[in-house]
Symmetry: C2
Subunit: 357 residues, 2 copies
């Protein structure tokens, strides 16, 4: 009886698989014809991919979760693209970091990913067109590259053409079970800060907290020394084969890291976009308020505002601003026009589809 039921389900799966097989090939054929119409031009279209993924998630009836079907369609698009030409992507290594996860999440596994030893090198390889795109952390990263990424964006000729948002969970990792005998906890300074309350409550006060270059490095150190623990994510736990003494120990439950994708192309409108820019302002009372007025006046939402001392010496400060909408949307275009009238330096880094979570 149950053998017969099993067989019925397996036969059904076999029929479904052949249908999927033919549809995948029809899809690839259309993708190939699109490539021919474009005649060797840019084949990766972030705006189109974002629209496809949003639609798939909206219309997903289950039982597969939205992330599963998005992941599968990412891979399907990745294979269809690779049929034309595989994309190559630079990220800040080592492997096993959130940067690698973000890269694979965005580009799928048919892309060629290259772990670089510094974020500078990752930018340089893409600027020189040795690789196609770079994935760079810009907010709340525990991999030590955020400040440097922002500095590089001031001068790079690359354009932002996408964003990736990863939900970050931190775990307490060790090479043996139990917290007895832990004398030291390693982590990136950001991660130590993000788990501050949890550490206060759950570990003795005399356990040293030591900040290191990355959480992957912390995990490596903890793997070597049983008297040490590390705070790091799933990828590092797997890579260094550590036990999770406690999961999700971050104080803030909606802890995310945001990455930008940069390349050589402009991205069209999708209806759910962001525009990133850098502006300069003199260091005097009211300067920022005056500068930002055109954004508010045109009904544009600002999703990020971050100031950073200028390295170039020409201005006192530079501001990294993200707004909702595409720079070709009329209200955003007007806001940008207003900004340009009020400061000598406005660099539009790019407009791109909002991350499909």
């Amino acid at each position: 009886m149950s053998e017969q039921q099993l067989k019925q389900h397996r036969d059904a799966i076999d029929r479904i698989d052949i249908e999927i097989l033919h549809l995948l090939n029809q899809r690839a054929q259309h993708a190939r014809e699109i490539g021919e119409i474009k005649g060797g031009g840019i084949i990766y279209r972030p705006e189109r991919e974002a629209q496809v993924l949003r639609r798939i998630k909206e219309q997903n009836p289950g039982p597969l979760p939205g992330e599963s079907v998005a992941r599968l369609f990412r891979e399907i698009m990745s294979e269809c693209l690779a049929l034309e030409k595989p994309l190559s992507i630079a990220y800040l290594g080592p492997e096993g970091t959130f940067s690698q996860l973000a890269t694979l999440k965005h580009f799928g596994h048919a892309a060629r990913t290259v772990a670089c030893s510094s974020i500078d090198e990752a930018f340089r390889l893409v600027e020189a067109r040795a690789l196609d795109y770079v994935v760079a952390p810009v907010e709340n990263s525990t991999e030590g590259a955020v400040g440097r990424t922002l500095d590089l964006m001031v001068s790079t000729p690359l354009k932002v053409c996408g964003e990736v948002v990863l939900r970050i969970h931190h775990h307490l990792l060790r090479n043996s079970a139990g917290t007895d005998g832990i004398r030291r906890v390693y982590a990136h300074a950001q991660a130590l800060a993000q788990c501050h309350e949890w550490l206060n409550k759950n570990l003795p006060a005399d356990v040293e907290r030591v900040s290191v270059a990355s959480n992957a490095e912390a995990a490596r150190l903890a793997a070597e020394d049983g008297s040490c623990a590390a705070i790091a994510g799933q990828a590092a736990a797997e890579r260094f084969n550590l036990l999770k003494l406690a999961e999700n120990i971050e104080d803030e439950p909606n802890n995310t890291t945001r990455f930008l994708v940069l390349g050589h192309q402009d991205v069209g409108q999708t209806g759910q976009d962001k525009t990133s820019l850098i502006v300069s302002a003199p260091n005097r009372p009211g300067a920022v308020h005056y500068l930002l007025a055109p954004i508010a006046d045109n009904g544009v939402s600002m999703t990020k505002f971050e100031s950073r001392p200028s390295r170039a010496g020409l201005w006192d400060y530079v501001f990294f601003i993200d707004v909702e909408g595409h720079h070709d949307d009329p209200n955003v275009a007007k806001a940008l026009q207003g900004l340009m009238e009020r400061t000598s330096f406005v660099k539009v880094l790019g407009a791109y589809p909002q991350a499909v979570l």
Copy 2:
């Protein structure tokens, strides 16, 4: 005109995607019902997966290549399985080695893969049921674990339930362009041997050849020192961001590495199977010929025969034998029966589907 053509192709892709989306969910629903019928039993069935992949490749009309559709269906099965319970897989690290590639090729990216620091540890974690399966190199590997894998198989209670075959390409890697100034080439001893002729022809005779623990280690060393090159594969080139001075430098063009998948389960017949066994034989003239007679007499093909000095001290030699067919096939069963009558030690490691290349 071409804008309109583009739109037609994109609309067609959108329709196809929604069809695929619904079929994927129907497939997952059937997989879930199969899981319920089994009531918490073993959900990963290597024999079934091999049959699905063989069929997909046979019936693939293109333009997607067979490997692309096999890779996508591996991921689809991986996601459907993960809907029940994600599999966890141990392999010999570090990341960026062929062992990792083999693991992902076989189990897809929804599986949880764990890089272990030794092959012993990888076996131990699966034997203790901390992880579900181990992927271990057994032939022509350049990662230094083959002998140890064979030794572990003598005593492990785990059963072989699959094989993975990777075509191995070696490249000459360096951190700058051109071969000028290379004073040393690092690689695993196996890789040095496999590229011997090429090195003789293409590098000056005074370039030192230094064997190290793994090709990944060789690439790491070459990344640090511009006067050194490394022989390693694509994954290591990407991981350490090295240039390929020359591709596919292996002397033998059909260079493959074979891995076995071990777990706790017996695998059913698929019609294209292999059985792996270990037998002992005394060290006296004619002993091996006498021992193997039942295999030939029953018309069973032997695909591998490898002798190894016994570590246990009870026998002089142990032999690792692979035969075509499943131990439940009548001729294989008779051959095994014959073997058991002729020696005191026959261990059937397992029967499993032949690798889907």
